[in-house]
């Protein structure tokens, strides 16, 4: 992927296009984090491709001075799959939103994840349709009052991380738009993962769903409401680390007070557990962004990615059959000669 690239700086990754998101949109901080991270990673601009669907987030590729495609609503994972398989040498990023990835594109998302295509899917979750001006999305809470649901929405929302884990994702993480350092760290981990990496980013839409994540990511509540996941360490949070997560005897997770149960009773986070059960439980410990919510890397397991399997299989076939010979192929049925 990356070798000895000439050093780049943020400005090398900024395209000449004027950014047209609403002032105050959470997308700005995600874009900035990406433009800061890629030079740090030593990535090459010419080998980097951003593929997006439709929605506010999907404008992202226009603002990156790399190769990019702003494609069709929901279809970016499918299009990026073809690109990643045809060109395993590229760093491919899929940029998506909650409507794009989980509504119209839900099918492509789950199939890309189960195949473990070698790319990173960033899902900007603002729990609302922004570009169409404010309808409820597949991650909006039940009862959401919007233009298309004046009496409250009836739909049970998706939990994006539960969906990804259920779809056999090998890397699943969450971050939020108010912590650039955390975004960069999660993106770095996603970039380094071989196979499909799925990242949910809590992203504030200050026009149509302002403050959707304020109860968990607001500066003054963050310590109490965000649960940082760190591999190999007991899961604990709170300004003094006074809360933690423990495994009940029935196998479910609960939030506990460390003082009451002792540190040894806390669940030690293991991203690499083959069984996604605990990661799935962690993804559902908060019923929504108003209860203590884990962030960080939920799962990072190693499993051969689709492109690598394809390459190995092709090499095997070719070593058995030899490189394809067109003239022989055209004569592979019964032939006869008329003189």
């Amino acid at each position: 992927m990356t070798d000895t690239a000439a050093a780049t700086s943020r400005k090398d990754w900024v395209s000449d296009q004027e950014v047209r998101w609403c002032p105050g949109c959470g997308d700005y901080s995600i874009l900035a984090a990406m433009q800061l991270l890629l030079p740090e990673l030593g990535a090459k601009r010419e080998n980097t491709v951003f593929v997006s669907g439709i929605g506010c987030a999907a404008r992202f590729p226009y603002y990156m001075n790399t190769y990019g495609m702003h494609s069709i609503h929901g279809r970016a994972p499918a299009i990026a799959t073809g690109l990643a398989l045809a060109r395993p040498d590229l760093d491919v990023w899929v940029i998506s939103g909650d409507g794009d990835a989980l509504s119209i594109g839900g099918n492509h998302l789950i199939h890309a994840l189960r195949r473990n295509v070698n790319f990173t899917i960033l899902m900007f979750n603002n729990e609302i349709y922004g570009l169409t001006k404010g309808q409820f999305s597949p991650t909006s809470e039940v009862g959401k009052v919007t233009k298309s649901s004046p009496f409250g929405s009836l739909d049970t929302p998706f939990n994006p991380l539960s969906v990804a884990l259920g779809a056999e994702a090998s890397f699943v993480a969450r971050t939020h738009d108010l912590d650039r350092k955390h975004i960069m760290e999660v993106f770095r981990r996603a970039y380094e993962h071989e196979g499909s990496a799925f990242v949910e980013i809590y992203q504030n839409c200050n026009v149509f769903n302002d403050g959707a994540f304020e109860k968990v990511s607001g500066k003054d509540v963050r310590a109490e409401m965000l649960i940082p996941l760190e591999h190999g360490r007991p899961i604990r949070f709170g300004s003094e680390g006074e809360h933690g997560i423990a495994l009940r005897s029935d196998g479910t997770l609960e939030i506990v007070e460390v003082a009451a149960v002792g540190e040894d009773a806390l669940l030690v986070h293991d991203e690499t557990r083959e069984n996604p059960g605990l990661a799935f439980q962690l993804s559902r410990i908060a019923r929504g962004p108003y209860e203590p919510t884990p962030i960080g890397v939920f799962r990072d397991v190693s499993r051969p990615h689709y492109g690598a399997l394809l390459e190995a299989q092709t090499a095997g076939i070719s070593s058995k059959k030899g490189t394809g010979d067109l003239a022989a192929l055209l004569r592979s049925g019964t032939t006869w000669t008329v003189s």
Binding site: P61, Y67, I72, A78, I79, T81, A86, L326
Partner: protein, 634 residues
């Protein structure tokens, strides 16, 4: 048909110029295999031939019922034939349902060979017969041969020790044996094939071999037939031949196109009848460096192919009508991105699920116009099974040269039908030149060299193809309207009008890069028969018959439906009347009328099968005997 009579081994042998044979039985009776093997024997013998498989959409409809009947028709001939024949001269019916659904097509005085074991009360009832047609005289007028094929097969297979239930399954090879004797076919190919196909199951090899030999010997010794027949080898031009179906030829054409262009072939596809065999065939050829990706749906199949094209591969997707419906948005994106994409539509009867296993030509206007916005796409159509090879190369050539999606419109008849095909010399296939952009093509106001993705080649109007991995050419493309040249997002009204015209002109300009349409008009006819796609065989044969009746008719056939050949307007203007036979309600006629203001007459065929020669012949004759409309100075 009957020409001469001779004698061999004490048997009378009659020589025929051609014969049409239809094998019909239950879906589980193996009629496709039987027909396919008879075809292979005839191909190796050197006959010209054309086949028409006809099978139900259900994998196994209830045994013995009318919807469960599967049939395979083949015409073999000593001369150049163009169709699988209008009506069978010989019908092999393995059960009452097969007889009932097919006997109406049998030529007057034709030969009927039935498996008399299958005509029990229960089977007759399942087929809706009140009385046994073999006994009640309703089949008078046909030459009927009642042969107890099931019991003779069981007897032949006794030495294998196979259970009767299993041994009975070899009865199609018994039938094939009879027909192989009756038409003096070489048997080695079939025996070899049985060995290769069922090699892993020695019992099956033995049973099928015994049944096949028993059928052959039955023909020779039973003295049921007063004669056997010979159809001499056809005088095909010198060269090497293979018998090929349209789907195989099309898949091989795609393999060839990728090689000629020096690109990776990337197929994104979702299984659908009758296009799945394209995916199957290409999946076997991975050692050509082909990537075959079975996607989650047709949207993803087309999307992945387009993504691969963005990366510098030859992106291809293969499907049938319902898949095209799903791909419309992706094809529109490919129009906007101006990237190569070959979209193969193996047409079948519609609308909706329609007739999944039957051919139709009803997606022409879908290919032309089935996208929102002004989204012109070139359209190419093969005319015979073997022609699918060249048509696939042509579709890829246009896609790559003009950076555009291209429709390749095959259909279920071409896909599954077969004919002898002269194997081309690979070295003689013209290379497809593809050049990726490697350097900047624009100077910014401050003098910096930069890359503009929508600067066009003045001759082709194609934009540069700059693939990721090329330093300095980083750029973004998308479905939003782009500024001419820079490719940046633009909502400027003048720019949109200009870009819309440019995209249209690019596709229209391909007319200068395709052959003119040739007309076959030996004696200055007033009526032109114009066709496209798989109607070629029947139309050409009909034209021959009309001329044999000493009437004049001209014929032209279109490979390029969009753009149409540059001389077509002038050509149409030479004729007082134009007849267009199509397996739809008149879609090409609609285009011809709109483009050229020609009052074309449609002959419509929507019966889930190709036209019969006689149908087109009648339509031509009717038009020739009805006075043409008064010249109105059109």
């Amino acid at each position: 048909m009957s020409e001469s009579v001779g004698h061999a081994n004490g048997h009378k042998v009659q020589t025929l110029e051609s014969v049409v044979i239809r094998f019909a039985g239950d879906s589980g009776d193996g009629m496709q295999v039987t027909g396919d093997r008879f075809t292979a024997e005839s191909a190796v013998f050197g006959n010209d031939l054309a086949t028409l498989p006809n099978f139900p959409a259900e994998i196994r409809a209830p045994a013995g019922t009318l919807p469960g009947v599967s049939a395979f028709q083949v015409q073999i001939a000593a001369y150049d034939i163009l169709t699988p024949g209008d009506e069978p001269n010989v019908l092999v019916a393995m059960n009452p349902a097969a007889l009932r659904t097919n006997v109406g097509d049998l030529a007057k005085g034709g030969t009927l060979i039935v498996n008399s074991d299958a005509f029990d009360d229960r089977s007759l009832e399942k087929a809706g017969y009140d009385s046994n047609p073999l006994a009640d005289g309703t089949l008078a007028g046909y030459r009927i041969y009642e042969i107890p094929m099931t019991s003779l097969t069981l007897k032949a297979c006794e030495p294998t020790g196979a259970k009767p239930r299993d041994a009975e399954r070899s009865k199609n090879f018994f039938a094939l044996g009879i027909l192989s004797w009756l038409y003096n076919r070489p048997t080695d190919t079939t025996l070899d094939w049985i060995g290769a196909r069922y090699g892993a199951k020695p019992l099956v090899v033995e049973a099928n071999t015994l049944a096949f030999r028993a059928g052959y010997n039955f023909g020779e010794t039973a003295e049921l037939f007063d004669s056997s027949y010979k159809v001499p080898a056809s005088e095909l031009g010198p060269g090497e031949y293979t018998n090929i179906t349209g789907n195989t030829a099309l898949a091989w054409g795609l393999v060839a196109a990728a090689q000629l262009a020096g690109l990776t072939l990337f197929l994104g596809a979702y299984p659908i009848t009758p296009a799945s065999d394209l995916l199957h065939e290409l999946a076997k050829q991975r050692h050509f460096g082909i990537v075959t990706f079975q996607a989650e749906d047709e949207i993803a199949g087309a999307g992945a192919a387009l993504g691969a094209s963005f990366g510098g591969a030859l992106g291809v997707t293969t499907t049938s009508g319902p898949g095209i419906d799903l791909m419309s948005e992706t094809i529109g994106l490919a129009v906007s991105l101006e990237l190569p994409l070959v979209v193969v539509d193996v047409q079948r009867g519609g609308p909706s699920t329609g007739l999944p296993t039957k051919p139709e030509q009803s997606d022409l206007l879908l290919a032309m116009f089935g996208r929102h916005g002004e989204a012109p796409v070139p359209v190419v159509a093969p005319r015979t099974p073997g022609d699918c090879f060249a048509a696939a190369i042509e579709a890829a050539r246009i896609a790559l040269k003009y950076r555009t999606p291209v429709f390749l419109l095959s259909d279920g008849y071409l896909a599954n039908g077969s004919e002898p095909w002269q194997v081309p010399d690979v070295a003689s296939l013209p290379a497809i030149a593809v050049e990726f952009a490697t350097s900047p093509n624009h100077a910014d106001p401050d003098g910096t060299a930069s890359f503009w993705p929508y600067v066009r080649d003045p001759a082709t109007l194609a934009r540069p193809w700059a693939v990721p991995g090329t330093p300095g050419l980083e750029h973004r493309v998308g479905g939003i309207e782009k500024a001419d040249g820079s490719g940046n997002v633009s909502y400027d009204p003048d720019n949109h009008e200009k870009m819309t015209h440019l995209r249209a002109e690019k596709v229209a300009g391909i007319a200068a890069d395709i052959p003119v349409v040739e007309v076959d008009d030996p004696d200055g006819a007033e009526l032109l028969v114009l066709g496209w796609g798989s109607t070629y065989g029947a139309a050409t044969a009909a034209v021959k018959r009309i001329r044999a009746r000493e009437m004049s008719v001209a014929q032209a056939h279109l490979r390029h439906l969009n753009p149409m050949p540059p001389n077509l307007g002038e050509l149409l203007g030479r004729y007082r009347r134009v007849l267009i036979p199509e397996n739809n309600l008149g879609q090409l006629a609609t285009l011809i009328r709109a483009r050229y203001l020609v009052d074309a007459v449609t002959l419509s065929g929507l019966r889930g099968r190709p036209f019969r020669i006689g149908e087109i012949e009648r339509a031509i004759a009717d038009l020739l005997t009805v006075a043409a409309p008064e010249e109105t100075g059109r």
